[in-house]
Amino acid sequence: MADISISNSSTAAVGSLSVEALAGPQKRARKEALIRSVFLLASLVSILISVLIVVSLVRESWTFMTQVDWSVTWGQNGWRPRRGLYDMPTLLVASLIVTVIAMLVAGPLGLGAAIYLSEYASKKTRSFFKPILEVLAGVPSVVLGFFALFFISPQVIERIGRNGWLVIGAVIIIAYLAVIAGWTRNLVRREAGTELATQIKRVLTLTALVATALILIWWVNSVAGSGDPASADFFSVKRSGQLAAAAVGVGILTIPLVASVSEDALASVPQELRSASAGLGARKLTTTVQVVLPAAVSGIVAAFIIGISRALGETMVVFMAGGAADEATFTSSPFEGSLTMTAGMASLATGTDNVVGEGLTFQSLYFVGFVLFLLTLFLNIAAGRFVNRVRERY
């Protein structure tokens, strides 16, 4: 029995079988190592790209930040890069308007679709609707730009008209207030009786009231203040579209994203929670609203943040249907034309062979891009945190 001894200590290697013998021919090991390093190189490409993105953004926007006269970047009443006026508020406010309206479209529709698909739909209904939503996710943004300009703007925005929008806006604002009020009431009820609860209640009620009043004033102002004053009931037909039409287009593009991320969150809620709720006698509605949704809330928040980040970065729809070409005047009304950060960058880069204009025009492109990059990076990291929280819990 001593002639076949398996040993892993070299001093006792008397047998015919050692670890060295098991390792196989050296050539084979070298080939394996080579293959491994090729794959490692491929995966390092992603780090290289990240570094290159940051380097290119920082380099050019550093030139902009150190050389620009900062007074032309704030309070200039318009983004006119070819004339050396880089008014950031114009782009930021337009981006804010587009993102908010887009999320008003994509948030409820995406979340509703996710709740139906995850909680109510039969297997058959699911397998019918889910691929359709995935196709909607694949529609190129230029198609939505065309649709926003030639359909949403004339057939929806302008047809509904000024009075219609006044009412619709007011209803949406009041509905959101109601949701927030209900949510605070629940929050306060949990702490009922304590001094803290009364304080929270006071502060929140006051903030909500002030915010609503401000939003309502802004809304009435922007609806009443836009369009041709001579035609009292209709917006003047804008051949180039307006922010609202573009924003609805962006919202439609964002629906599938919000839907699929929220559906993942709802699906990760353990089935036991639903069964337990039903076992206690809760109806389907109660189970869905009071058990499943609260359990998935981190994932749903993540879905909304990812949606916001996507809407903020969407370029072509606003560029085509946003109602502004090379430059934009400051506006806080969704019924006017303007440029978002992304559309501003695209419009700077079109029409000419190279980006030309006043000295820092090329660098301004990278400055806006850097601001956009930081904003979306922050949102994506926040969304990642929320997604991880769901994963850790279940």
Binding site: S43, S56, A113, G145, F146, A346, L365, N380
Partner: protein, 314 residues
């Protein structure tokens, strides 16, 4: 077991209602209807969108079918030679760039991350980089392409290779993420079996992992191809042509260094011209029908393929 009279039936139904509350749970039914409404509206929008585009573009597409395919970018919409041939050529080139660069690099990176990578800081960094790259807005990739390929490598001149490489970089994280998911789904028993009969790691990957993950990898690649073909913003940034592009007959290699356009860029150019020259509107619609047909075909094949294999493997 009693006689079933009409009265008994009514009692039975009432008891049933008490238990299932089907007829009385108004709020529940309302909520369910509302949620279904959200789904239905989303799908309805897609239907309106497709119908609207087809209605707008159909006359141009069928009216001058042959000319439209072989035509080029022109400055007036009434021009007989107006068409999409240059856009199609550019888009095919871009798809080729994605297939040539993103596919091999992306799949290799996914193999490394799933099969080789040890748990250390480097793997973590790669992972974070890929996740964050997937969320970077497409215009920012355009800025990278403009800086790296146009300004640094090509002396400020826009060229086809710059657009192709920019989009190849754009879809790389998508390919890595979808391929990694497909590779993760390979059952470890398959791999253990192969190791057991003496296969090396590369043998296992080549003969077991890749064949099993192939459908998933293919699905991800198709989705990213359709994304690249439909993307416009980065191409505008690296200087794709929206106006007029001189028709030239040059060799394949020479084309790489020439100015270019692509299907989405053609559409953007025509839509923006339609303010001054209304005829460009329908032309853009017709180009969209072509692009949409291409993209939806690729996406549907990808989704169906995945569904087929999911069902087959249970």
């Amino acid at each position: 077991m009693g006689l079933s009279t009409i009265g008994d039936n009514q009692v039975a139904r009432r008891v049933e209602d008490e238990i299932f509350r089907s007829g009385r749970d108004l709020r529940g039914t309302g909520f369910r209807t509302l949620m279904f409404g959200a789904l239905a509206v989303s799908v309805f929008i897609l239907a309106v969108l497709i119908v609207q585009v087809v209605v707008d573009g159909w006359p141009t597409l069928t009216g001058r079918f042959g000319d439209f395919w072989s035509g080029t970018l022109r400055s007036r919409s009434s021009d007989e030679g107006l068409g999409i041939s240059q856009g199609l050529k550019g888009s095919i080139w871009i798809a080729a760039f994605v297939a040539l660069f993103s596919f091999p690099i992306g799949v290799s990176a996914a193999i490394y991350l799933e099969e080789y990578a040890p748990r250390n800081w480097l793997t973590n960094t790669i992972d974070i980089a890929i996740r964050n790259l997937a969320g970077v807005p497409s215009v920012v990739y355009g800025l990278l392409g403009l800086f790296l390929f146009v300004k640094t490598l090509n002396g400020g001149q826009s060229a086809l290779f710059a657009g192709g490489l920019t989009l190849a970089i754009l879809v790389l994280p998508i390919i890595v993420i979808t391929s990694a998911e497909a590779i993760r789904a390979v059952p470890s028993s398959l791999k253990q079996g192969a190791y057991g009969v003496g296969a090396t790691q590369w043998d296992v990957i080549r003969t077991q992992v890749l064949p099993f993950a192939a459908p998933g990898i293919l699905t991800g690649t198709l989705l990213s191809l359709s994304r690249a073909v439909g993307e416009a913003a980065p191409l505008i940034l690296v200087g794709a042509i929206t106006g007029r592009l001189a028709a030239r007959d040059s060799s394949l290699i020479d084309q790489l260094g020439e100015r270019f356009t692509a299907m989405p860029i053609v559409i953007v150019g025509w839509v923006r011209n339609s303010g001054a020259d209304e005829g460009f509107g329908p032309a853009a619609g017709a180009a969209i029908v072509v692009l949409l047909a291409l993209v939806i075909a690729m996406n549907s094949v990808a989704v169906l393929l995945r569904g087929y294999f999911e069902k087959k493997r249970g």
